[in-house]
Structure formats: structure tokens, C-alpha cells
């Protein structure tokens, strides 16, 4: 943690001094002090909060839907073989295809703007969550199921007392990876066509060649990504404590 701060501080310092000393052109790489300026200006004018709100709302809807649908679909596929076999080809195709290529089609379907961004966000993260849930359920140790059955467990008991708790770590790992993909969906969706949002502001300032404002938005996204991932990692560590042995 401390090292992290030191290491970030060092990067900022080198960055700032390289520009100040005239070794690099601030038009291209800007400089930390200017970025901080830009951020505080955006915060005061409300632009930052507005963009953040738009992006977070898209993220929340798209990601929230993908959590529900992904876990449900993954659980159904894990529970019923036939569902797995039906879903499997589509899941793997969507999982490994560059889904953002479907963007123009979504624009055709939903129009330019928020719904399309949400659709992309959803699609990108849902495959990850479904795939992880499925894998988590499939990798439940059959010995544990057998042990539960020996005590007369019903199908419901098996689900609630064995399958679900056993697959929790895998599902949460899926949620964590899904966050990264959902964030990607929001940013890229906004990059292409939006009227507000963090991705939009990167594209907007990019078109105006305002490097400083552009990098400021990127910084906000970096912070957002780190915060989300850290939060989920913390949750993961909590649920994982029984699984990771001392060795």
C-alpha cells in the first residue's frame, strides 16, 4: 500500500519534471499539475459529476442486469445438462468474440445513446458472469453432494446447502471480472456515440485535441476501475477465506 503510493508519486514526479524541463511536449502527454487543474475545474463546474452520474447509471443498469441474468443463466445451465448444451455454443462464441463489433447493430436496434451503451455493457459482462457461474456449479466436488445425499438432502437442500455455497468463490470471481468488462462497455459505448459520460468526454476532448482534459477523464476512469475491482476483491477475499489454505 505504502509502496503503491510511493510508486505513483514517483511516476507523477517524473512525468511533471520531464515536461517542465522541456524534454517532452505537454501537448502530447500533458502534465499532472495541469490535469489536476482540469479535474478541479470540471468538479466545480459540475461537468465531472454530471459525466460520472451518466456513466455510473449506465454501468449500474447494464451490470446489474447482467448479474441477475448471468447468475440465473449460469445456474440453470449448471443445473440442467440440456440447458448447458443448448447455451454452451452461444456462450463461448459471445465470450470470445469481440462483442463491441456488434455496436452498429445495437445502434440500429436501440438508436444512438444510452440504451445502446447499456446493451453493450450488459452483453460484455453477462457472458463472463454466466460462464463463471456455470463453471463454479460444475466444479462442485461430487463427494460433497454424495455426503449431503447420505443425510437425506432434498434437491433444494443440495442447491442451498452445497451447490450454491460451494460455487460462491467462482461466482464472485466472475462478478469481479464482469465489472472490468462492464466498465469497458460503458466507456467504449460512450466513446462511439453519446452526449454525456466519461467515455464521451474523452472522445469529445480528443476530437478537440485537448490532451489535458482527455487524460483527466481517463484518470477518473482509472480510479473508478481500481475502486470497483478493489471492492470486489475484498468481498472475494472474505468469501474465499475457507478455500485458500495456509499453504
Amino acid at each position: 500500500m505504502l509502496l503503491g503510493i510511493v510508486s505513483f508519486a514517483a511516476i507523477l514526479l517524473v512525468w511533471e519534471s520531464v515536461v517542465r524541463l522541456g524534454w517532452a511536449n505537454p501537448f502530447f502527454i500533458s502534465q499532472p499539475s495541469a490535469i489536476a487543474d482540469s479535474l478541479s475545474r470540471a468538479a466545480r463546474s459540475g461537468e465531472l459529476w454530471n459525466n460520472l452520474e451518466v456513466s455510473l447509471r449506465e454501468f449500474a443498469i447494464g451490470y446489474g442486469a447482467s448479474v441477475v441474468v448471468g447468475i440465473l443463466a449460469g445456474a440453470l445451465a449448471g443445473r440442467f445438462r440440456i440447458v448447458e448444451y443448448v447455451v454452451d455454443p452461444f456462450l463461448w462464441f459471445l465470450y470470445s468474440a469481440p462483442l463491441i463489433a456488434f455496436y452498429p447493430i445495437f445502434v440500429l436496434w436501440f438508436g444512438l445513446g444510452v440504451p445502446t451503451v447499456i446493451a453493450i455493457t450488459f452483453l460484455l459482462s453477462v457472458t463472463q458472469i454466466a460462464a463463471n457461474t456455470l463453471r463454479g456449479i460444475q466444479s462442485v466436488n461430487p463427494g460433497l453432494l454424495r455426503a449431503a445425499r447420505s443425510f437425506g438432502a432434498s434437491e433444494r437442500d443440495l442447491l442451498w446447502k452445497v451447490v450454491l455455497p460451494a460455487s460462491v468463490p467462482m461466482v464472485i470471481a466472475g462478478l469481479r471480472l464482469g465489472i472490468g468488462r462492464a466498465l469497458m462497455g460503458v466507456v467504449v459505448g460512450e466513446l462511439f456515440g453519446a452526449t454525456a459520460g466519461l467515455g464521451f468526454s474523452i472522445a469529445y476532448y480528443g476530437a478537440l485535441l485537448k490532451t489535458t482534459d482527455m487524460i483527466a477523464s481517463v484518470v477518473v476512469i482509472v480510479v473508478l476501475g481500481v475502486l470497483c475491482t478493489q471492492a470486489l476483491s475484498a468481498v472475494e477475499a472474505r468469501f474465499d477465506s475457507w478455500r485458500t489454505g495456509p499453504g
Binding site: G4, P98, A101, I105, M214, I221
Partner: protein, 253 residues
Amino acid sequence: MPIPSSKYRVLVSTIAVLVFLGIWEIAPRAGMVDPTFTSQPSRVFAASLVIVPSGDFLHDVSVSLSEFAIGFALAVGFGVPLGLLLGRFPVLRYLLDPPIMAIYATPHLALLPIFIVWLGIGMQSKIAVAFVGGVIPILVNSMAGVRGVERSWVTAARSFCAREWDVFVKVILPASLPGVVMGIRLGVSRAVLGVVVAEMYQSQAGVGNKIMLYGSEFRTDYLLFNVLLVSVFGFTATWAVRALEEKLWTAGK
């Protein structure tokens, strides 16, 4: 209870895909959906017959492929050695870990407009995006691969008076290979995505460029052919690395 064999699995999956294609074909014919929005398998196929023989297509594919190949090769060439190094030397790792993790947690495509400002709308900016997309997972997983190497193996090698270099080449390298290959698999899909999205964003040629173009012209069939093309490419590339990965895992057991 019937014992589901792998044949049964293939059968069900095939039927599911065929049913999907069937519905996709029939629904527009039956007037349930507008074919402008969904196109049809037959139209996509017809589009492929027009697109593939054209010289434009070859040009686009070669542009996209070379962007991917160069960016990805750079990512491997840079990410693997650095990852191994960081895994081996904790001091370096402590120093670089935080920024690397920060980039890992960030959608790398957010950097796209910056690369365009820096490198223009030609191939360079696409190569850069492919590189950044690919290099981070490769680096992180190579690093994890080295750190996952059993200490006892290193000790065992040392007990035979192995020098540092021998330890690295004969123990650490082979033992961390699965991690490296896993990083490469994750890197492939991110690099493919990077190239396509960068081309879609701003470019002069390439498959992504065509996807955007056909999208703006509402030529869904042409668009879908290109989308399927990159999807199949991404799928195949990932699948190939995964096959390699499985081979390595079983060999390592």
C-alpha cells in the same frame, strides 16, 4: 437416467445452433421482424459471396491482421520477459505492481482517443491499442506464473549446484509456462478487440472500418458478415491457445 455421452452433447448443441439459424432465417420472411435490422443467414451468406472476392476485402483483412500481428507480437515480446523478470525480482515487482494493477483494472480502450492524438488515425494507433490490450494480461499472468513456481523445485535445482541462469532456464521458465500461456490467451482476445474497436473508432481501412461503414449505410448483411468474421477469428485464436494450454497442463502433471 440416460448417460449423456459427448455425442449427445454435440447433437444438442448443433440442434440449438441450427434452430437459432432457422429462426433467424424464418422470422424476417414471416414478417415478424424487419430484415433491415436483423438480416438473415442467407443474406449474410450472399454478402460473403460478394465481399470475399473483392480486392477491398483482401486489403482490409491484411491491414487488420497485420495490425493485430504486430501489436500482439510486441505485447508477447515485451510482456513475457518483463513479467518473468518482475516475478523473479520482488523489488521490481513491488515498485511496478501498483501502476500495472491500476492499468489492468482500467478499460484499456479508454486510451484509444489518446493514441489517436499521439499516433494519428493510421495503423500505428491500432497497433498501440492491440499492444496495450495484449501486454497487460500477458505481463500479469507471466508474473503470477513465476510466483507460482514451487520453492522446493528451485531448492532442488540449487542442491545440484545450479547457477541462477540454470535455475531460470531449467526450472522457472518451464514451470511458469502455463501462466504465460494463459496470459497469452487472455491477451489475444483483448488485442483482437483493440484492433477492431480502434478501426471502428477512427481509421482508413480494416475490417472494423468496414463494420462502421456498413452500419452507417444500414447494410446489415454486409455488416454482419464482417462482425462474424472477426468473431470467428477471435473465437478460433482463443480456442487454439486454449488447446495449447490444455496440452501444457496435462504435460505438466
